[in-house]
Amino acid sequence: MKYLLSFLLIALFAFPTHADDIETRIKNLEEALKSKEQDALSSKGVFGGSALMNPNISLILDTLFYSSNLSPSELEEREISGYMHEEFETKKGFNLESAELFFFAPVDPYFNLYVTIPVTEEEVELEEAYFVTTSLPAGFQLKGGKFKSGFGRLNSQHRHNWDFADPPLPYSAFLGGEGLIEKGVQVTYLPALPFYTELGFEALQGENEVLFREDAATGPRAYAAFAKASLDLDDKSTLLFGPSVAFGKTDTGTIEEDTRFEGDSTLWGLELTYKWTFSDKKAFKLQAEYLFRDQDGDFTDADENVSNLEREQDGYYVQAVYQVDRWRLGARYDGLGLFKDKYVLDGQSEDFRTPWRATAAIEYNPSEFTRLRLQYNHDRSLGGGETNREVFLQAVFGIGAHAAHKF
């Protein structure tokens, strides 16, 4: 840099010039400096390379204010009777959901790498860490590591991209709050058809604590498969739909407190999304999923009595979002036990109340990187039969690299 400057200065002053040339020369000098400035931006570090060789990094802060008519102890003990028992972690008042780090970059010409690290007040989690191939022929792609399964619609989306602050009842009941995030491999195939069709198969460790088992000692214990098809109805509206299935060995304590269940589980899913973007400022989205879980195995109750348990239960949600400019209005209705509500313990059929919930939400997004949401749930899913009237005030902020959005 110094040498270059002195060289330029010498060049400027060493040769006699006409007055009108000076201006051009100054201009040249300025330009030379500018290009040096550009070089400085990609300056070499100790280990070589440049700043541009860093992965793309973004950070998403998800904060929440929560309020409910129930007492903290009632909230803590809440469970969906006959479906599942899981600790409810959201506290009344201020909550810090997470500050989520997201890294992504190509590894080499053959792989892209994605890593999601949500940091909460208590822990640092490795939620996702996976590679995706980019160069396989014939429409195949391989994903491996730890990733959100392609099962269903909401499951593979990041929580902060959801249209509501909390998961719908069938997800909570059959997969738990986190969804199906597993270690394993995924193969997908995109045939060269006139319309979009994606077929996928996954071999998974099977560590979902609700559907499979926490900390599986051997694997793969679970498998998943899915198909998704999409049609453009016209220039402005698109339909995406398809079936999914996940099945495997189950060993879980989430049905009731102090119990154990060992057996086989199959979870079926159907998804449908319809998006209608009728102008640059207005859009409408309708999304629905139907989940059905079939389970058979040995149930060990709190008194160590073992008996056969058979569960065939289903659940669904339907949600609509209407967007006008920076505002989004959402409504959701979700429930369990729509067509199937079978719970047979030791030959005895048991009946539980039919859980349902109605939700309304309003969002204001000052920019693409900020989301402010007010949500109300009228929740009739609790085992005790009490109504949970809950309010979420959520604020999500994103800084750093701009990741592309999936459909």
Binding site: L193, Y196, H402, A404, H405, F407
Partner: protein, 296 residues
């Protein structure tokens, strides 16, 4: 004998088939890129465009059908400078098409061929949805389009070297037409002043010698504050620009308000090839904009 003849026929078909029939599948993100790809590729290319002419290029969502289109592409041509950052990376990765992955000859960032203006590496998002790599709307630059045409011709030649002569001939025709039109466009808007909604016409202004003296949008992607609007009313009343210019998807209400307050007329300019009837290629687009701006 019959088998031999059949084999010979089969071999001939196999060898000649691709050379005769297979056109290059070009996937262009924006209509103007598709237009130039057609000019250079002629009937050797089949062009698919992802973004519709009436859409706002800043707010595009990846649709699964775009992934299907990318699956079949021999080359993807895009604007670059982060204009497509919200949807193109996911389309390219999901396409499972090795030909169009970054680093391959089928991955063509058209901004590579132009010198961007308004580069600001120190920018952050407090200034709105900024583009640190520079103003991405170079598609209206009459001085840069020749280089884009040449870049596209080179890229097509690299993929389909047998037809290099054809692409270069088409490029020569394109360059000649560009030189002729530039003579018509140059000077017609010299000295004029406009107020614009978005930083969309800066390249054209620099090339054709008009000035943009103010913006309705203080920060890209963020609606203007009332204080800023009041300031604009004052400055526009004082400076009396030739017109207020915007596009069909940007700030209709704000522009109408300012027009009413100041008496400065609003011109809604076509922003893309195909956005109005009669705008069938890039030359038509610039023709129409120059025509509308000069008020003839």
């Amino acid at each position: 004998m019959l088998i031999k003849a059949f084999l010979a026929l089969f071999t001939t078909l196999l060898l000649s088939g691709p050379a005769l029939a297979a056109e290059l599948n070009v996937l262009a993100t924006l209509p103007w890129i598709g237009s130039i790809a057609k000019d250079i590729g002629g009937d050797r290319v089949s062009v698919t465009v992802l973004v519709k002419p009436n859409q706002d290029p800043h707010h595009i969502e990846a649709r699964p059908s775009m992934i299907s289109a990318a699956r079949k592409a021999d080359i993807v041509m895009f604007n670059g400078l982060d204009l497509e950052i919200g949807y193109l990376p996911v389309i390219i990765e999901s396409s499972r098409n090795p030909k169009i992955q970054p680093g391959n000859p089928g991955y063509l960032d058209c901004s590579r061929f132009v010198e961007a203006i308004e580069i600001d590496f120190k920018a952050d998002r407090s200034q709105g949805d900024v583009h640190p790599l520079g103003n991405p709307h170079y598609h209206l630059s009459t001085s840069r389009m020749g280089k884009v045409g040449r870049g596209i011709a080179e890229a097509l030649s690299a993929l389909d070297s047998g037809n290099r002569a054809l692409y270069m001939a088409n490029l020569a025709t394109f360059e000649k037409k560009l030189a002729e039109r530039r003579k018509e466009w140059d000077g017609r808007l010299k000295g004029k002043n406009y107020v614009a909604f978005h930083r969309f016409f800066e390249y054209l202004a620099a090339d054709l010698g008009f000035r943009i003296t103010g913006y309705i949008e203080q920060r890209p992607g963020i609606p203007p504050s009332s204080g800023h609007m009041a300031g604009l009313v004052a400055s526009m009343s004082r400076e009396e620009p030739n017109a207020l210019i915007t596009t069909s998807y940007h700030g209709g209400k704000a522009a109408d308000f300012l027009s009413k307050k100041t008496g400065v007329k609003t011109i809604v300019l076509p922003h893309e090839v195909g956005s109005r009837e009669g705008i069938d290629d890039w030359f038509d687009l610039v023709d129409r904009i120059v025509h509308d701006l000069s008020g003839e």
